[in-house]
């Protein structure tokens, strides 16, 4: 039974949202004095936080006397919800964090953040960003957020395990299936998967599968409303995914999917119990901690899971975007701080080299990566910049309700209580409403 304390907590929840008011009262808010800019941030570790504070916050504060940034560090898991709630209550920090264009669009649509076009012109931002990221950050033709962290979804594997089993990195559906069959026969989990503790993990795998099986062109057409989500190409992709889950290829077994964690899968990958793991490049920063001694992890682009999709697609994702709060007393100062983070691409590459943190989607000089950068990390960003096979991550390009639908309802497909066609039909219904409301971020046109 819940304790009296949890009852109170629930009354807060049921009270709708009373949390909004509570947080608004407690939050540091945008009521900063003249010259002060507030910023909420979260980091994967204390060393990353120290690096960021020293090289971005302290350096900015020393370089300018008119604007001083005050950073409040929050928990990584709760920063998004804290920000959403505080901003919804008309408060929140001056520099507003969002976990991608989709969230940033919600703030913009509700007039909680301001257009940044004048600052973009002043600081010349458009020339610095990769075109796809620039387009995705616009709402109704105006720039509302600045992407400061991006990555992709790739296939992680252990070269030692692959070598021991005589496997080569899969590029086609047939090669992928061969490895899955062989790994399963050896008692391994062919592809790591699970959503215990973080239900949204399902969208990592769905993003990979939809890009590799339906392909970027179909996704682009769906994201722009030209192809419905219950089109055969998506139903076939989800059906194939479900079949592979039923075979125990993803996560070991359908029921195990619900108790596996990201940590379990990386641990299994290092121990040779998991053959492959498909997840985001944000794990570059932590993957080494699972591999001890001479063991190494490696990544490869996603295989093609359909005859019509080219292998090696990179679903792109902006994981962190910054906006300026509509209630900021010093919006110019907030924009100046945002500019300081991206003004010199070398700063981002140094940050990447020192901490492994995903960098802003800037046009980096291929030779500018510091020598200390992990080869695997540098190779990813160099490859993406040259690739023409770019796809779409759901948490970046899907509107909020459709994105949530994707990972909450997919559980029902796994348990068999919903058919793939029903799942796609429900997705289309949710997406159509959001498309009509103008809540879909602008996707870039496929280049391949």
């Amino acid at each position: 039974m819940p304790s009296p304390m949890s009852r109170r907590s629930l009354i807060k929840l049921g009270g709708g949202l009373l949390t909004a008011g509570t947080l608004a009262a407690c939050g540091s808010g945008s009521s900063s004095g003249s010259g002060t800019v507030t910023y909420w941030a979260a980091f994967t570790g204390s060393d990353v936080e120290r690096y960021f504070k020293k090289n971005f916050i302290d350096r900015f504060n020393k370089s300018t006397k008119s604007v001083q940034v005050r950073m409040d560090v929050k928990q990584l898991q709760t920063l998004g919800k804290l920000t959403d709630t505080a901003v919804a209550a008309g408060r929140g920090p001056d520099v507003v964090y969002s976990d991608g264009p989709s969230s940033a669009l919600s703030f913009a649509k509700s007039s909680n953040t301001v257009p940044l076009d004048s600052y973009a012109k002043k600081y010349g931002w458009q020339d610095k960003f990769l075109p796809w990221a620039w387009e995705a950050s616009k709402v109704d033709g105006k720039l509302y957020s600045v992407p400061v962290g991006y990555g992709s979804v790739v296939l992680y594997y252990s070269p030692a395990v692959f070598k021991k089993n005589g496997w080569a990195v899969p590029k086609s559906l047939a090669e992928f299936e061969d490895i899955c069959t062989a790994a399963k026969a050896k008692g391994m989990i062919p592809v790591g998967a699970g959503n215990s503790g973080y239900t949204a993990q399902s969208e990592w795998y769905l993003t990979a599968f939809l890009n590799a099986a339906a392909g970027p062109q179909a996704l682009y057409e769906a994201l722009t409303g030209k192809r419905p989500w219950d089109d055969k190409v998506f139903v076939d992709a989800i059906t194939l995914y479900k079949q592979q889950i039923d075979k125990g290829w993803w996560g070991g077994a359908p029921d195990r999917y619900f108790t596996n964690t990201d940590t379990d899968m990386f641990t299994g990958l290092a121990q040779g119990k998991v053959a492959m793991y498909i997840t985001g490049t944000w794990s570059f920063a932590s993957a080494d901690s699972f591999f001890t001694g001479d063991q190494k992890w490696e990544w490869a682009p996603l295989p093609s899971l359909s005859d019509t999709v080219k292998p090696g697609v990179f679903p792109l994702a902006i994981g962190t975007a910054l906006s300026v709060n509509a209630r900021a007393k010093n919006p110019a100062g907030a924009a100046e701080f945002i500019d300081s983070m991206i003004a010199d691409p070398q700063d981002m590459l140094d940050y990447l080299a020192a901490t492994g943190t995903n960098p802003a989607p800037l046009k980096f000089d291929q030779s500018a990566y510091p020598p200390s950068t992990d080869d695997r990390v540098a190779r990813l960003y160099q490859t993406i910049q040259q690739s023409t096979n770019l796809g779409y991550a759901s948490w970046c390009f899907m509107p909020p309700k459709s994105d949530t639908y994707l990972y909450t309802e997919f559980d029902k497909v796994i348990t068999g209580s919903m058919k793939p066609a029903e799942f796609c039909k429900g997705l289309q219904k949710t997406f159509a409403d959001e498309l009509a409301a103008g809540s879909v971020p602008s996707p870039f046109e496929p280049t391949s």
Binding site: M1, P2, L10, L17, L18, D84, S110, F258, I414
Partner: protein, 290 residues
């Protein structure tokens, strides 16, 4: 007399003010939002009873409501029975009674997040009790995925929650039983009553006010249950452990349907109010002693 009443009200005023601020204000706001399409960010628009009519056609909501009812039935039977039995047995022993009371009560004082996390490890299909027993040659639980199998996940979470809860009931029931006049038991024994008759005809009627109060709170808390479910399964797999509060949380904070979530909140509040109303009716109108 008036001065004394004024003083009493002055002492109560801060608490009343806090409750108005923390419960009444947001509660009324919730009622208002339940009639809107509020997404948590944009201005809400009135939609009448649309959220309420949608609720009763929403399979996820109805299943969560059913889970709350099952949860209530479980907690009215299992921990209450265990609590009564444990307390009654403890009244029969003198040595080590304090030790048992402490042992029973310890789970209740462990933070929920801590005990739930420990239980998640214990129930893990890869590193928990199943594989451990299998290594010892007992394979019965090897392939049981307590939290991943939708058929048993709700029962598993209820078991874990009960583990923390029933010891608390033992202590409360024991305190109530210890206030019963010993001469009643002595007279019953002289009349030839056995232990069961002592329990049924003396203990149970004597502690009825405590029993009824805990039953009432059990019903209310069963509809507000959130913490163990959210930590252990987050309502999954595929809604098989969803209760109204987890659906409400998901609607409000993940699906940007704060108006819809508010309607669920209002339903929850109405259920609690009906429970309390029933309790008051039994006590005041039917003069039940409780």
């Amino acid at each position: 007399m008036r001065g004394a009443q004024l003083k009493a009200w002055l002492f109560m005023a801060p608490l009343v003010a806090v409750n108005l601020l923390v419960i009444a204000g947001p509660g009324l706001m919730s009622v208002y939002y339940s009639f809107t399409d509020w997404d948590g960010l944009n201005s809400p628009g009135l939609v009448g009873f649309a959220n309420y009519t949608a609720l009763f056609g929403d399979a996820d909501f109805l299943r969560a409501l059913l889970h709350n009812l099952l949860w209530t039935a479980f907690f009215l039977v299992v921990p209450m029975s265990l609590g009564l039995l444990g307390a009654f047995l403890l009244t029969r022993i003198k040595r080590f009674q304090l030790v048992f009371r402490v042992l029973y009560f310890v789970p209740y004082v462990i933070a929920t997040v801590v005990s739930a996390t420990i239980w998640r490890q214990i129930l893990s299909p890869t590193s928990g009790i199943g594989p451990a027993l299998s290594d010892l040659g007992i394979p019965w639980l090897k392939d049981v995925n307590f939290l991943g199998d939708g058929d048993i996940a709700l029962g598993t979470v209820a078991f874990v929650n009960n583990w923390q809860w029933w010891g608390f009931l033992v202590v409360i029931f024991l305190a109530s039983m210890q206030s019963i006049e010993p001469s009643l038991y002595e007279a019953a024994r002289m009349d030839g009553a056995n232990t069961w008759r002592e329990f049924w005809h003396i203990t149970l009627p004597a502690i009825r006010p405590t029993f009824m109060f805990l039953s009432l709170m059990t019903v209310i808390w069963s509809f507000l249950v959130f913490d163990y479910i959210y930590i252990l399964t987050q309502g999954g797999p595929a809604g098989s452990t969803d209760v109204l509060s987890t659906v409400m949380y998901r609607m409000a904070f993940e699906q940007q349907q704060a108006g819809y979530a508010s309607a669920i909140g209002v339903i929850l509040a109405l259920i609690s109010a009906a429970t309390v109303g029933g309790y008051l009716y039994l006590r005041r109108r039917l003069k039940w002693e409780m």
